[in-house]
């Protein structure tokens, strides 16, 4: 019963960190752009939030599956298989939770008054100093809520994860997957325990998000 919890935490933390890095980089590079390219990239990255997880899972299977060019390449050259692996679960959770991180950070970056930055620049502050002393503190609430939301969403990810990573106890059997199979097989004890755990944790996160971070 503990194994799915540890695994879920690992997968969610990994997904959150990767998504945080990618979002930050993308926002940095796309921030000033107003091109069609930017709009299309953004839409592609946000759309998994509204797509059914089964569709996301299907795309990942088609792109990274063993019969796909990428899947074949990874397997033949590096003996890596994404499908039915912990990495697969991280990718699924990351793609589905990405929009939450991206939107949170982006809206806080866009809310920064550009005159602060210009003022700092006229007074001779280095770009690094501007970043650490102005941009980062102003974005902190957005970053924190992005982290919390992404982590919670990754923790709860079920559909795409099951399709991509399958159900391997100790390797890809996350809390939601374990709950699904426990209920199917009538194992109420495991189901109740995991349901209680994930509900409490999610409640705690959303509480923190709403009443602590946003103050």
């Amino acid at each position: 019963m503990i194994a799915p919890i540890i695994l879920s935490l690992k997968i969610s933390i990994a997904a959150t960190l990767i998504v945080f890095l990618i979002s930050s980089l993308l926002i940095k590079f796309l921030y000033k752009s107003t091109s069609l390219f930017k709009n299309i990239v953004e839409t592609i990255l946000i759309v998994p939030m509204v797509l059914p997880p089964s569709v996301v899972g299907y795309f990942i299977l088609k792109v990274l599956g063993r019969r796909s060019p990428i899947g074949k390449f990874l397997f033949n050259n590096f003996n890596i298989q994404i499908i039915f692996s912990t990495e697969g679960a991280i990718i699924a959770a990351g793609i589905v939770s990405f929009p939450l991180m991206y939107q949170s950070i982006k809206s806080s970056v866009e809310a920064i008054d550009i005159s602060y930055i210009e003022a700092a620049r006229t007074m001779g502050a280095s770009e690094w100093r501007i970043f650490t002393k102005i941009i980062l503190p102003l974005c902190k609430p957005g970053i924190l809520s992005g982290l919390v939301l992404t982590f919670s969403r990754a923790l709860g990810e079920f559909g795409a994860t099951l399709m991509v990573a399958g159900n391997i106890p100790g390797k890809t059997q996350t809390i939601p997957v374990a709950i699904y199979f426990a209920v199917e097989s009538g194992d109420n004890r495991t189901a109740n325990f995991l349901v209680l755990f994930i509900t409490t944790l999610s409640f705690f996160f959303i509480y923190i998000l709403n009443y602590r971070l946003k103050k």
Binding site: R67, Q81, F84, I168, P169, F181, E184, S185, G186
Partner: protein, 265 residues
């Protein structure tokens, strides 16, 4: 004018149906003609064969409409326990039907064994894995082996029993990916994402993208028998009995055999 026409035609139509209604009720009631709708909950390994058998049965009995709900036997049993409106339950084992019989949810005298099956080890169609018996599994190089969830799907239960018989289950545990039913396990192998899988022979036979690598001896797992029974709340028990005797008839058995099931003697 148009409106008047419409009213007239409506009148004519309704009168017409009324008279038709009258004449049919006056005629000596032919019981057979009453449309009957039957819901069967069936093990997912029966998907292809039952779809075929259903068409055949409906051809012979024009008034019967059969709906089939496929799933893992254990999951279907749970649905019935929760009160799902089902008439016939066909399981890929005998214990799920027996459990419902004990709870008086299945009529005791209706339980029949309709067919049997074999467990096979399969690989994707281009697989070059060579294996003589399951004890060699830990020495083979592969990333994943797909089986159905043993707790809900009988195919998985038998597979696990056989793996335990050869004492290899614990050694390959971290490579086993569990499909929710046997069809899912098969699809994992067909897509190439799992190199190996353990499914029923009938599943392997229906699949073009996988091939049988090894037939698992039947003495390494408990007896495979597909049992069925009539749910006690069914209102159409006569039709249910007819369907079950169709399964056990020569015609029914030959359909089952065509799909790779082993006949019952």
């Amino acid at each position: 004018m148009k409106f008047k026409k419409l009213i007239y035609s409506l009148l004519v139509v309704s009168l017409g149906t009324l008279t038709i209604g009258c004449t049919t009720t006056k005629e000596p009631a032919k019981k057979e003609e009453k449309p009957v709708s039957i819901t069967i909950s069936a093990a997912s390994s029966l998907k292809n064969v039952l779809t075929d058998a259903k068409t055949e049965f409906e051809k012979q009995n024009k008034n019967v409409k059969i709906n089939i709900n496929f799933g893992a036997s254990g999951a279907l049993r749970k649905q019935i326990e929760e009160g799902a409106p089902v008439d016939i339950f066909v399981s890929a084992d005998s214990s799920n039907v027996a459990a419902l019989k004990d709870k008086k949810l299945v009529d005791e005298d209706s339980v029949k064994t309709i067919t049997s099956n074999k467990i096979v080890l399969i690989g994707s169609k281009d697989s070059n894995i060579k294996i003589k018996d399951l004890s060699e599994l830990p020495n083979l190089t592969f990333k994943n082996i797909a089986i159905a969830t043993p707790e809900t799907a009988p195919a998985g239960f038998y597979s696990k029993e056989s793996l335990n018989y050869y004492k290899v289950f614990d050694k390959i545990k971290s490579k086993i990916v569990y499909g929710k039913d046997v069809q899912t396990a098969l699809s994992y192998v067909e897509s190439g994402n799992a190199e190996l899988g353990m499914v029923f022979y009938s599943d392997a036979k229906s699949s073009k993208n996988s091939k049988v690598l090894l037939e698992v001896p039947s003495n390494t797992h408990s007896k495979i028998s597909y049992d069925c029974g009539i749910i006690s709340t069914s209102k159409e028990k006569d039709t249910c009995k007819k369907i079950i005797s169709f399964f056990t008839s020569d015609k029914g058995q030959s359909i089952l055999e065509k799909y790779g099931f082993s006949p019952i003697k």
